[in-house]
């Protein structure tokens, strides 16, 4: 959902940046448009986020893989106020946040595409329950979203070892 927000920001002629501290973004599924920053450490991620927020050139800054704490949150909040953009931190401790969003995929909401023997083959959609809270406001909604295929490449070039059905 956040990645869709980034793409939407770019589509509206503004800039978005995703700070991927843990290196969890998969290159094959990264959409061109938003900036992607891969800092080497937590400290670098926080410094980078502060600088990018302060510069005022980014409408949306997403900090993933690093949880700001205490004074770090205060500094980032000041930087947001200075730059005028929006800042999203993925953290279970959303102190000082204007808007708090929680999301959870409903376990039994997955829609499978079934194979000829009625076995699950592909997940097509899933429903996400999103709860938003702000000062004096609380709302939730269920959103059904498609699932990106994982794109496993099963066919290798001829000559490579095929280990299907290895003896166990």
């Amino acid at each position: 959902m956040l990645r869709a927000a980034c793409r939407c920001t770019v589509a509206k002629s503004e800039r978005a940046v995703w700070i991927d501290t843990a290196g969890t973004v998969v290159g094959a599924f990264w959409d061109e448009g938003p900036f992607l920053i891969q800092p080497k450490s937590r400290k670098d991620a926080l410094k980078g986020a502060e600088e990018l927020l302060q510069c005022g050139g980014f409408a949306l800054v997403v900090l993933d893989g690093t949880e700001p704490e205490g004074t770090e949150t205060v500094r980032l909040t000041r930087a947001v106020r200075e730059g005028g953009g929006a800042f999203v931190a993925i953290t279970p401790h959303p102190s000082l946040a204007k808007l708090r969003l929680e999301s959870k995929i409903l376990p039994h909401s997955y829609q499978w595409r079934r194979g000829p023997f009625d076995d699950p083959v592909d997940v097509q959609t899933a429903t996400v329950r999103v709860r938003a809270r702000a000062a004096g406001w609380n709302a939730s909604a269920d959103i059904t979203v498609p699932v990106t295929p994982h794109d496993v490449r099963l066919s290798l070039e001829p000559g490579l070892a095929d280990r299907r059905g290895l003896p166990r």
């Binding site: 959902m1 990645r3 869709a4 793409r7 589509a11 509206k12 002629s13 503004e14 800039r15 843990a22 290196g23 969890t24 998969v26 290159g27 094959a28 599924f29 959409d31 061109e32 448009g33 900036f35 992607l36 920053i37 891969q38 800092p39 080497k40 410094k47 980078g48 600088e51 990018l52 302060q54 510069c55 050139g57 959870k104 995929i105 409903l106 376990p107 997955y110 499978w112 076995d119 083959v121 997940v123 899933a126 996400v128 959103i143 979203v145 498609p146 699932v147 990106t148 994982h150 794109d151 496993v152 490449r153 099963l154 290798l156 000559g159 490579l160 070892a161 280990r163 059905g165 166990r168």
Partner: protein, 503 residues
Amino acid sequence: MFVCLWSPAWRTVADSLADLSPALLTVTPRVVTEERRGGLVWVDARGLDAEHIARASLEVLRGLGLSNVHVGIGTTAIVAEVAAVAATFATMAGTGNREPGTETAGSEQPSAPVPRSPFPVPISLGSLPPSILEPDPHLAALLDGIGVETCAELAALEGESVEVRLGAEGVRLWKLARGDDDRLIFAPIPRALPHASLEWSDYALTDTERLLFSVNALFGTVCEKLMERGSLAREMTLTLALASGNTLATPVRAGRATASRKTWLRLARAILERMVLPAGVVGLTLHAAAVVTDAGNQGDLFDRGFATAAATEAALASLAEEQGDVVVVPENTAHPLVERRTQWVGNRERTSREPGTGNRERKKRKRGKPLVIGEPNDRPSASVPGSPFPVPGSSDSPFPAPTLLTDAPPIPDSRLTLYLLPTPRAVETHTEERRDHVLPTAYRDGGAWYKVLSSAGPDRISGERWGEAFAREYFRCIVDDGGMVWLYHDARTDGWYIHGWWD
């Protein structure tokens, strides 16, 4: 006015031609020597009393023992040059009335207007043969063939006919015959690069913080001068004068050209904090070593990002300076393993390697239909002039630049997308047998057990005959907390791993 000095004696002492310059510089601001015609010495008299400078130059040369010197003065270089060499030429041609060794002053000669030429050409030069202008031998023969015997006859020809009959070289010669000479004898004087210095004698500084205080003041002065002349510095040199009498010069380089004191101070601080001073510092000199022009970009009223492009560029450059190439883009291959499929490269690196980007693409789009958002592959891309760092919103940026809105942009849909752990993490699993594989029913990760509600798989991949071989059976598993994880069974080691999740 141009003053040209020439002497037949220089043919034998050509090597020492450059040695005359220091002596001549005592009477004129600039001197240029040329090897043509056996050696020409040009004296810059523009805006000065040319005749006085010419006489003073001759006096100086006489003092050096060179008496056989001819001088020519002209409003254009060719007139001065021909006037200086014409005396000897006329003698050689048998038509002149001057003896070698006598002085010639072109400005004193009566001038005659050449038809439609704004340049006054002395009559005596008009009577000289075109060979005085050093034409190409082939062209000289051609001129002889069509009966052009003097410069005046050549100058009187129509420009169009000269171009048609004699070509480009003929036109050049025709222009010289008319006194039209656009050679740049004296190149523009380069402006001194901004610099500032500070010295003190009562004490010697060894404390970096106090040193930075003084450096900050110098950066303020230099950056102010840079901004006054509309320039940006790419490199500055900080020279420390030590109490021991030695100097320590340190280059300070920025990732992008800038005139921001804050940026330069940050870079200087990083250098000074690492520096071990061999002695106390008693003086500082700062000068801009590499300066580029601050070329502004054409603005776009409909470009929301243009106003903040410079700030964004500065922020990204600052990140690059501090943390290296952290702004990355993926380069994907067809490798079967997802974690080996992608190579993250610095955005600058990709920009420099990527062909077919640039203004051309943007111009092509501008000529065509209005830009519509939502077509990522069509976005214009290029690099910011004078800067190594690309930024969207600049007029020629390699990032998706803000574009003109003609229709409402399509809202991108949310999707659950795969995220990977940096390295697969081993997990403990409960499995159940199937016909040709085992299926995970629960796994333990981080001390907690997760029940698998449903799973799809196995997706078997294997390969790498020559490298590190792999054989994996991947399963997409829905667990009881609602997440969908990507587990695999390593068929070579018989271990289970969690590789990623969908979010």
